[in-house]
Each structure stands twice: as structure tokens, then as C-alpha cells.
Symmetry: D2
Subunit: 314 residues, 4 copies
């Protein structure tokens, strides 16, 4: 149930959120398998909210770029759905929570090459493969889309791909290559496994600030309408929200729905994107992760913000 | 996003829903392992809506009692949470979607006796065991609660336990006995396996009409307030909603969230309970099931109703 | 390849085996879930060999009775096969290695209630259920068979059931009750789950000495012929040997075949029965177990004995 | 138990085996995923026996070359063990039956990248990777070894790699590439995934006749001694036999041990290699397969031959 925002004003609330949730110790972990993410200071913390009325509030390190990693899956999914033939895409990937690790091959094998949802790695590879059917340079197209949604910002760089990090991740992509070849074996990958993984890794290596991310995701809070018109239809926007709520937080989707009550998508770079339908889009970032791979301080901050504002879909 | 209800009036909408969705053929299946459910006419179809403003609308067979089966898990969970020490309960059962069959032993073994959520059978047995700590006659207590919420109805019987059906199901409960002994082996069952299964089966054998069910579940749409005050706290009500949305429809939770967009809980008796937070509680019933065990016509009717009214949490 | 036994004489070899392998420390573990097995001194070690020529050699604690536990499964299988209709039995249980824990429910579920082999617990319950079709007091019948094979021994008690231990194990049999109810759910158990588990536990609680066990198992080394004629046919004897070799040592069957090269069956009481086809039957006992549940010193002793004598089927 | 071979002479027995077991219909299946194997006439059937006394008996199509496929795993394993540091190899691959499909990724994931045994595909890739540490052209080395063992045969071609078939299989190796990248992800592959798979596929594409295969495998029946001295030590020869018996027939190892009672290794090309320790090496070939992927007529022929000759290790 969503309630109107009362005093205190949102800007002050965000300042207080930063005060309370900015980490003071090295609690939590960093992703061991991605070298360039493991050197970030533990006390980075930023938050931004973009509202349907056009305002943007932010606090903390909301203007520092971070690696969006799996949050890219939300945008790739939206673009793949608008690139054409959603029914064809949904015949290749389900929309059910996975109940197992995000990069598991087990469920893929049991379910004969049909990934459980678009947000586990195997599902994201299928979505990228689908998008490549229209845009062979899928990662470049995702970057263009994000840049458009964010808009021109004088003196700012805007979203960009960290190509050095992408190359580093690509040389360390055995698990994703295994998933891609496995999908290929089941006939559920059209393009070469190596090309799909390369595009996937470059999408994950996009760098954005909390402010940029909140603006880029706003279309999901306003029925699919983005900065330049409809990105997806109203019903597709609602449906992406339902996939985020049930599958967006790795193996902690239920726990996140329980504590926060909002559609969300996290990445191992420490970012979380959350949607308040009809109200606003929230992005929080802090690099240290809990045991499920979600930002430790970010999740706590969103639970706190939901309690203070009453923002929840339930 | 929830929208105000426009014309046509809800009563007419429900009449039309019945016209369009009442089954005309024997499509779908009946639960093979529960004899007394397998003789129902294929064209039974009822729907009822109880609103927060106190109105009740209904159409079709909304006054015929049906076996609530797993929908009872919602009420048992609410009562177990209000019976005391929710933290103790949540240490014994998770809140994550299962990704496997509702009565599977596999995940229980992999996760060392901690069920994934309260709505798979193993989780419901743990919830019943917890409730029995306060009310040894857990099934009787659930029935009393439901009767209270429904209120006195002149000339009507009210909810009741079909004791003949319960005995029949109990003699056919090898799977649930296996689950209960397995939980016991992991130290996650306090009372004797046989007693917990007996209570569980009697809860499942409660008979209610759509109208009664819609009234009984209304507390979940109004922040935990039921017919005689708070059943659970506002935050617990929201949290039960989140568990319904992520885990309420067996292995089709994601698909239901995608098509309908509401917290729901189904039973193999053909009933589905759905919540529109802040607005109303819906109950639909039609006995024939899809391949996942959810009412075929009921799911289609809820998707249609959600489209017509705009009711969705996303 | 089997070779004739050269000097030194077997009695001296066994004495030396005891000297080298009797444990000198508390290495290894005792079965935590079976109280009466957890108090045995760590340095118990016995070995006996019964040959097809009628000799019996022994050394160490070869006359102390120990709990045969899962070694009983070999004898129950032989009796179930001779009790009639082997084809019916083999339609209810496979003969393949399991690749998972001996008391796992996972594989049973994946394979729809057909246990992988007669030596995992679920398979042994099916074998006991089959034997109960002819002998309702299956455990008593197994005891009678063992006593017959061992023969009269003046001043000795002979095999017996430790009824106190059996009652203790029975009150702690949640896992086996879960397996039995699960088999029942799949239609692969004829008698009541509780009765089958009770018989199974009593078989496991039979107490025997190494000398008695070596004599009782000798029929498997001499083509099925026991003390009073054929126990099973020559081909059934060979087949029981093949099941022992591929499935007899829990999840270490391959390792045991690799190190020892003989058909064997172990129990968590620390006993191991091994067969040298055409030559002899060996029983070794020492209570402390390795991580797979097989006797630590017993396995090492058999590997050593195999190396010294050349006894191996390969 | 092995018995001396009585009359009738082995040559006549083999002739009769061919008469009884050469397929008369298209029963069984051909491997759908390997095009060049799917066009073989259903009635091909050959058998050969090479004895430790130097004789070779054969019947049927024993001089037609067939694709050895997974039988190559026996020879690669023997060579990898003799290439150095067996302990290092056995730390990277277990010796336990798998209980799941030969090319499954599930068990590999559950067991953190350590294959269950050297004869499932993941294990064979590790063995090839180990062999490549000494011989980068592992497939060429295996071919040289086989050619040496077979010896010069005037007017005959000897073993050869079907390079056209190898290229075809390589272009269809998504599953093996997935396994190799998965092993790499777990740190259990030294060389590039693509190179290991290429070597593996070329080994599988070696073409041999039954006569050649029986001669090449003879070292396993004579304690490791091959045509030009020791291939492996006596104890390694016994151990390879134990791995064959427990893991050599895909998911039918137990059934094969039960029916035939000999260490064996099959390939989807329809060949089976079987060892009678101290006596002889048998090769049978017929292309149509049973549901587990083993030669239908070949398995039946070996069971028959075992019954007639008494050849069995049990």
C-alpha cells in the first residue's frame, strides 16, 4: 500500500538515511571473483530518488559511478521485450523464482535448458541473445538507451562502459561460458556462445551513478513511459515489476519482499534499483555484500526508507 | 498500482466474469490423490469480493461450500504469528520461493530440515507444530477463527470441517507423514509426527463458501484488522502478503504475479484467495486445475478481473 | 585374480594384521545417532576367515559380539531372494550404485520410489517388506538363519538380538520412518511403515562375533551352498557378490573396490564382511569409522590382507 | 570365479554367439547427436577374444573398424596413470560410481568440480588434461599406443582417427565445452577448454576392429603387461579393472556386473571391452544401443558368453 509522502521532506530523510547506514566497518564481503570490484573503500554509500513529478533527491556518494553488474539485466530485459516478439522470448525463459544459486547449472539441466527467469545468469544470456537478434552490438545499445534516459548533464560524463574491467571479467568468465555452451547444447542460444558472453559482460561493466540509475529506471514507476515516450507498454512495465519482486534479489527475493516490499534488482557491484509504482524510482549503492550477494547497507537502507515512507506494494 | 473502481459497478463485472469463465468443458484435471475432490461437476464456478468499506459482492456458485485445502495455510500462518514469538517461527521456516514441487523432500534435505517457506507442505507442518504449542487442537482453533471472521449468518451453516473427508485424507497421508518424520529427524518438529499431520489434514478439510472466504481474508487487505480488531500487526499483514505473492501459487508464483499481480493463495480444492491491499479481498472457486495445481478457470478469472479493474500491486 | 595361498600360514598373517592395524588412538568417529554404539573402546579389533575347506582362522577380538547393523542387509537380501519370486523383488529395487548418501530421500524422489539398490536404507526396507510377505517376523527369521549357518558352539551364546539396543534405535528412527512412508506414498511398501521399520531395526541389532559372521557368510564364497545345503543358487550367489562390490560400502564402493578388490559390506557397528569367491569369507571388526561410515581400521586391514595374499577379483 | 575353458573350443562358441546375437531387426537406438554413427546397418555384429596365451579368436564382423568412442577412456586413463604422478590425477577425479547421466553437470556442481570417476565425460576431460601435461598431442599419443599394442598386421590399416568424424563431433560439442569451462571455473582444468575438448573428441573418433581392440586391451588381463612390456603396474591394472567394473557402463554398471560379472567399458559406437583377469580380453561390437547407451546385442552376447564359459569375477 502506498501512502502520500508526509513531512519531513524527502531530501532530509535521505540525508538521515546516509547518516544511519553508511558503513563504519568492513562488515560484509566483496565479490572475490571480480578483481576490480574488490578494492572499493568499505564506507561508500549513496542514494537517489527520482519521482514521477520530475524531482530528483540524493544524498551521500550519489554522484560516484559504480559498476551496475546484474542491474543491467532489468534494462536488457526491457529492451529485449521492446525489440520485438515478447512471446518468442518468454518461450525461451520462464518467470519463476529459481530457489537455487543465480549461476547454477543444476536447475538448467533439470529444466532442459529453459532458464527459470531472466535474472539468473543463464536467463540473462538468453535475453542478451534475443536482443542481439535485433542489435548485434547489444551492450552498446543498452548503453545508448541508458544515456538517453539519463539525459544531458553539463559537466558530467554520463553512463560509460569500463572496458578495462570488461576485458578482465571476460578473461574470468568460465562459469558464464559453461552456461552459454550448455544453453547452446539445448538449442536455446542462437548466436555463438563466446559472442553472447562478451556482450553480457560488457553490459555488466556499465558504470553509472545513483542519480543516473534512478533516472534511468523511472520508466518502470510510470507505466513504461521514459524520458522520450514509451519504453515498454503499461502492462509490460507491470510485468517487469513482478519479475523484479519475485526474482530480483538472487536467492533472497522472498526476504527482500518481506522486509522492503518493493520490486528490486541488485548487482554484485553493490547497487540496488527499487521501484515504487506510480511514485518514484530509488537507487542505493554501497559495495559490501551480504551472504546472498546483495548490498548489506543498501538493503538495510531500503527497509528503513520503506518503514519511514510507507512505500510498499503490500 | 491501485486505481479507484470506475463504472460498471462491481456486481455487474462479477456477473460478467462468471459468464465468461464458467467452464464449458472438462478441461483441466482433478486431484487424483484426494477421492472426495474428484467427483465435483466441472462447471462449478463462484466468485466473491469483500471490500474494506464493508460491502460484499458475489456471483455464480459463491454460496456453495468447497474444501479450502492449502488456502488454510494463510490463516494458520497468521494465527501462528499472533500466537506468539514470530522470530522463533521464522527461525524454523524460510520465506523464499521453493522452485520445486510443493511436497518435495529434496529441498528439505538439501537445506537440512528448514523448509523454504510456510506454504509448501513441509513448511505448513512446521507452522502447525508451532501453533500446537499454544493450541493443541490447532485445527479447531483455525475453524473458530474463521467462524468469528465470517460472523453470524442467519440460515447459514458457516465454515465447518468435513470430518469424513479428513479421515479419508488422513488414511492417504503417506507423503505428509514422510515429511513430518523427516522434519523430526532434523529436530524441526516438537510434537509427534502423527499428531501434527492429523491437525494439518483437518485444517485442509475445512469447507467454506467464496463469500465466507472473502470475508475471512479481509483482514489482510486492511492492515491486519479483522472483524473484531487486530488479527496481526500492520507490518505482519504486509509480510504475509509478500509471502503470498512470492510463494502462494505452488510453482507458478512468478507466472501468477506476472498475469494477475496480486498476492494470492490457491488450494487443490480449486479455490484461490487474492488480496488487493487497502481495497478488498477476492475469493474465486472452480474445481478443475492446471498442471501446477491451481484452479484453471479461477486463475483466468483473476487475470481478467485485474485487467478490468486495474487492481495490481505493480 | 585369485592366487593360491602361500606361506606364511594364514593364522600368522592374521596375528600380524592385528598387530599392525589394532587402533592405538581415538582416530575416526563413532555413529552419533546410535547411543549404544558410541561407548565402545577405540582399540577393539578382530578378524576371522572361514575357508571353503572348512577351516576357520581368527585373531584379536574375533570372539566379541558386535552389532552387525547394515551387514544384515546381505543376509536379508539372500533370504528374500530364496523366499520366492526374485523377479518381483527386482522390480521394486534396482541394482545400481547410488552416488548419494545411504539414507538420502533425494534419489528416491527423483526415481519415483524405486530405490537404487538393496543396500541403501530405502532398498533394505523394500527387501524387508518382501521378506515379511513370507515371514511376518522377518527379523526372527534372519536370526534363525544366521544361527543355523553358525552351527552349535559349545559354551557359546551364538547370534542374538540386542533387544534393548533395538528399542533405543527404534525410538530414534525418524529418518527410516520418513523413508518408509515415502515408499508407501509411491506404492512400493505392502506392510505398514511402522512394522517394516521395526523389523528392519531388529535385524540391524543382531549381535555376532567375527568368527560367527565369517561362517555365516561362507555360502557366498561357495556358490550359494551353506551349512545345510543351498541357500541361494550359484547364479544368485554371484549376483549378490556383484551387488556387494558395486554398492556394499555406502558412498565408498568404488574406493573399496580400488583398494581391496573384493565384494564387501560394512555396517556402522564397525564390521565388514568380504568375500573371496571360491576361497573364503572374511569378517573384520573395529568400531571407529571413516567419513563415509566404514570401519577405519577394518578397511585398512582388508587392503593389507588383499596385498599380502593376492586375494582380489581383478 | 574363473574356470578353465572346456570344450567346445572357443572359436566354435564365438561362431554360435554370432548366430544367436546378430540383430535381426532394428531394435534399439542409434546416438542421435553423432550423425556419422547413425547410418550403420542394424545387423553389424562382431566379437573377438585375445587370450593371455597369445591366441586370438574372432567371429562375425570382427575385422570391420568401428568408432571406439568412450572405450578410449580406458586407454587414456592407463596412459595418464603411466605418464606420471597418479596421486595428482586421483586428487582431481574420484573413483566412485556416478548414479547420474554420464554427461551431467549436476553432480559436478554439487561436488565442486571434482568428477565422480574417470569415465563420465567430465572425468575424462580431466584425465585428458592430465595427459596433455606430458603429451600436448594427447589424441595422437593414444593412437600411437594402440597401434603399438595391436602390432603390425600385413595388409591391414590398423587403428586410425576418423578426422572427418572428429571435426563433425567437434562442431557439435556444446555439452563437452560446457563441462570443460565448468571444470575450469572450479580450477580443475589446466589447459584451455577448447584444446582439451578437441583432444578428447579426437580420441573418441579412433576407429578399430574388434580384433585390434581385444589385442590392445590384453594388458589389463595380464597384470599390466602389454605387447612391449609393462604398460601399467600390476596394482594399477587391477585398479583400472575395479574402476571399469563399478563405473564402466554408464548408469548400468550395477546391472552389467549383475548379468555379466566382468569389468567392462562401453562406447556409444556400440563397442564393449571386457576383461577376464588372468585369462583374456574380449571385444564385442554391434551398433544399436539400449536406453542406457550400451550395445544391446553386445551386452546380451557377453552375458551369454559369461554363462557358457563361467567367466566371471564373482
Amino acid at each position: 500500500m502506498m501512502t502520500a509522502l508526509d513531512s519531513p521532506p524527502l531530501g532530509l530523510v535521505l540525508d538521515d538515511i546516509v547518516r544511519r547506514h553508511r558503513p563504519r566497518s568492513e562488515a560484509g564481503s566483496l565479490p572475490a571473483n571480480i578483481p576490480h570490484l574488490s578494492s572499493l573503500p568499505f564506507d561508500r554509500f549513496g542514494i537517489a530518488v527520482a519521482t514521477v513529478s520530475g524531482d530528483v533527491f540524493s544524498a551521500g556518494d550519489a554522484d560516484l559511478p559504480f559498476s551496475i553488474q546484474s542491474i543491467s539485466k532489468v534494462f536488457t530485459l526491457a529492451m529485449a521485450l521492446s525489440a520485438g516478439d515478447p512471446a518468442a522470448l518468454w518461450s525461451r525463459v520462464l518467470r519463476e523464482p529459481s530457489g537455487t544459486s543465480f549461476n547454477s547449472l543444476v536447475q538448467l539441466e533439470v529444466e532442459h535448458g529453459i532458464p527459470r527467469n531472466p535474472f539468473i545468469n543463464s536467463g540473462a544470456l538468453v535475453v542478451t541473445d534475443h536482443l542481439m537478434g535485433r542489435y548485434p552490438d547489444a551492450a552498446g545499445e543498452v548503453l545508448r538507451f541508458l544515456t538517453d534516459q539519463v539525459g544531458h548533464q553539463s559537466g558530467r560524463k554520463g553512463p560509460f562502459i569500463d572496458e578495462v574491467a570488461a576485458r578482465s571479467e571476460l578473461s574470468n568468465s568460465s562459469r558464464n561460458l559453461a552456461l552459454a555452451h550448455f544453453l547452446k547444447d539445448f538449442g536455446n542460444l542462437r548466436r555463438p556462445a563466446e559472442a553472447v558472453v562478451a556482450n553480457y559482460v560488457r553490459q555488466c561493466s556499465i558504470m553509472m551513478t545513483c542519480v543516473e540509475m534512478a533516472k534511468a529506471g523511472l520508466f518502470l514507476a510510470q507505466g513504461g513511459r521514459g524520458a522520450f515516450g514509451a519504453v515498454v507498454s503499461r502492462s509490460e512495465a507491470k510485468r517487469i515489476g513482478s519479475v523484479m519482486l519475485t526474482c530480483g534479489m538472487y536467492d533472497a527475493a522472498g526476504e527482500f519482499a518481506y522486509r522492503v516490499g518493493l520490486p528490486g534488482k541488485s548487482g554484485v557491484g553493490g547497487g540496488i534499483l527499487a521501484i515504487v509504482p506510480g511514485e518514484c524510482c530509488i537507487c542505493v549503492w554501497s559495495p559490501r555484500l551480504d551472504s546472498k550477494g546483495n548490498s548489506l547497507a543498501g538493503t538495510a537502507a531500503l527497509a528503513d526508507l520503506s518503514d519511514r515512507t510507507g512505500w510498499s506494494v503490500f
